[in-house]
Symmetry: C2
Subunit: 355 residues, 2 copies
Amino acid sequence: MAATVVSNKRVILKRYVTGLVSEDDMEVVTVEAPPLAVPAGSKTVVVKNLYISCDPYMRNRMTYHEEPSYVPDFVLGEVLVNFGVMKVISSGHQDFNAGDLVWGITGWEEYTVIDNPETLFKINHPELPLSYYTGILGMPGLTAYGGFFEVAKPKKGEYVFISSAFGAVGQIVGQLAKITGCYVVGSAGSDEKVNLLKTKFGFDDAFNYKKELDLEATLKRCFPDGIDIYFENVGGAMLDAVLPNMRVAGRIAACGMISQYNLEQPEGVYNTICIVTKRLRMQGFLVFDFYDKYYQIEEQIARYLKEGKVAYTEDVVEGLDAAPAALVKLFTSSSIGKQLVAVAREHKAEHANFI
Amino acid sequence: MAATVVSNKRVILKRYVTGLVSEDDMEVVTVEAPPLAVPAGSKTVVVKNLYISCDPYMRNRMTYHEEPSYVPDFVLGEVLVNFGVMKVISSGHQDFNAGDLVWGITGWEEYTVIDNPETLFKINHPELPLSYYTGILGMPGLTAYGGFFEVAKPKKGEYVFISSAFGAVGQIVGQLAKITGCYVVGSAGSDEKVNLLKTKFGFDDAFNYKKELDLEATLKRCFPDGIDIYFENVGGAMLDAVLPNMRVAGRIAACGMISQYNLEQPEGVYNTICIVTKRLRMQGFLVFDFYDKYYQIEEQIARYLKEGKVAYTEDVVEGLDAAPAALVKLFTSSSIGKQLVAVAREHKAEHANFI
């Protein structure tokens, strides 16, 4: 195989992004693939990418940071990287064999050499749609589960508000909160999403934040007795509206602040005094904080899926050529469901909409 | 005694405060004292107030709130209330006897009937200056100890920043942090305070925030490796400058935000995204959270005082007539040490400056 020239389509960062990310910030190019067989003595693995995930935090990596950010900046002219679902095609690592299905960090391309295979997770439920491992069974699912149970520490009967509730993480948090016996309200950016949150995802209530003139009053209307848990995906003005609506000893699980990622100058938050007066705990976290619990959480979520206790939607585009537009959709509120790219479909016809 | 008319000087709220509190917002009046003997069957106690404490959080209670705040608003024409040191002169409660020295919530007046004596703490170290029970052995000490050890959860070698470090709570936190083996920097509002923090209170470094043009750069200079723990007393622009200087997994113990209390419109905080990217925990607390640990903490702090391990300063004014001006001093950065009012000195000449 080493002598065969295999091409490798990939999405590269064409320029550092300022303001709203656009398709023109990326470029789809075709280069020669790396050797598809791992050299003798190497502990790397070579994967064929099946699905890659579009996630809001990638925006941060597309801007040049003078000082290192919490995740490394993407490199100009180099392939984008993010979570994906892959098939191992060659392995020098004892834990992996050719044919294994895995998920973890990979390139936005057809073939990737993974230098640190110990960061990959095995896929234990291939009977479920493989693409779910970019979402409810992958990074967003682990983030939602860990952020809700480990950081927000919910109790039955508590009042939960989730912003960007139709996002990959928000959808899952809302359903976990309902399973826990909480009262759950979500915000989203379109009437269609609001409707789906209430009908398909079991939220007690939801609102379209774009139609609300006074978010603080809206939250007061939705939560006359206040909010115990705010699962924060948005930041800025939404956080500011939430703070005065929090109950004493409330928790804010700070997962992301998507409203701020494309701004040159972030919005001010004026009501931070509420953190003192209401004795709030606001805590940030990353998915890596929960890596050691992944396989337990995978089992739990797989069970919920099979029992029909959680719903899930995806917004899948076909092929790497469509990947830049798919990433941009995250920030224009136009993805309906977990946004991902099918790079290669070779496993089975799994998109029969499981739920 | 019931037939004797005893007078009771008191400080009342004359008008609700907007903006900076001034002496004119209060008035010193003399009224008839309540009966100084508890009626048969009552479980109240009557106290003679010896020292009353001036604390920044009182400012919040002087403003009218449409919705209930975390502490009740003071009532127009009624006596101010806050922590003080008192002698029980009559008791209907089984836990207290005439002559007991106690501290807790009382009125800004000579004599007060305490309806809920179970909120009072006994003073177990009367050999120390009694006035210290308005400070290092009272509410500020308990706040500092609980906020630092229970909320910030310090580890030896960590980098600690304390704003309003010369304040009643900040001074104590800094010294507890040094005892714990942390590197400690404080901010204060005058060169005199900065100097005292470094010479008398053992801070590794300190700066006068009024002389710094770029607080974010100042903190970067003081903490080239970042801040593990920020003990927040100030809020607003200082919080904004701290956030980018926090280290991953840092903690912000949010005790107060004195810079904001007199503002009609609070300052914006723009760097809240750091809570996500650095996985920070920012947590508010009130002294009541630590009430159940008070007597242990009293013993620990009394031991530190006797061993000379902590220094302490007070700014004492004499008599209730001077109380309004003393409260205003808190907000003009002109108190040097714990601000309090000696209402009556009858115990002993304890102000020999213990340390």
